[in-house]
Symmetry: C2
Subunit: 119 residues, 2 copies
Amino acid sequence: MPSTLSVIEPSALAACCSPVTEGIVGDEAATTLARMFKALGDPTRVKLLSMIAAASDNGACACDMTEPVGLSQPTVSHHLKLLVDAGLVTREQRGKWAYYRVAPDVLGSLAAALRPATG
Amino acid sequence: MPSTLSVIEPSALAACCSPVTEGIVGDEAATTLARMFKALGDPTRVKLLSMIAAASDNGACACDMTEPVGLSQPTVSHHLKLLVDAGLVTREQRGKWAYYRVAPDVLGSLAAALRPATG
């Protein structure tokens, strides 16, 4: 069963960026935003995202993320997969370990969608 | 059974605002952020929030929100309660109807938490 069914396509990302503060968002944008927010609806995934976002350009190694969140490697890998599937982070395999980076523009787009309307 | 158990206290809100991009977030902040993101992890609630955020200072009447999302009044009220409980919006009863506003500073704080680190 391919897991790519749940992966957000780049084209959907483009639809996500209209601010929620400027009127009712459309079906596609609401679905994309909700999927990203849902992936962040868990304290462990918020922590993992914060570690990935704070990592150097080399990315954050999965091997470094188990101890800070106090969970097993398989559990951390599961959470990381949900972040990847939601389009929030990207994954790169290098030898034995996977490295994670925040997907380009995603946090900025999410932040922009939440920015309060001015004037 | 009081529903206030799930309500986010203002003191917890203050803990939520450190950017996730500046290092691993603490337990309390991760829990608060995750609860807010979880409340937005549904397309209907994203739409409702967008309508509330775009409403005038008078707030958005529950009576005006059923038709745009195409759901029954009880279902919309349930979704609105989840937004209130997460601390994202406030509710004010005026006569027969409830009016909703975005909670002060909340969207800005959430946006700030997601803003990519610069430099």
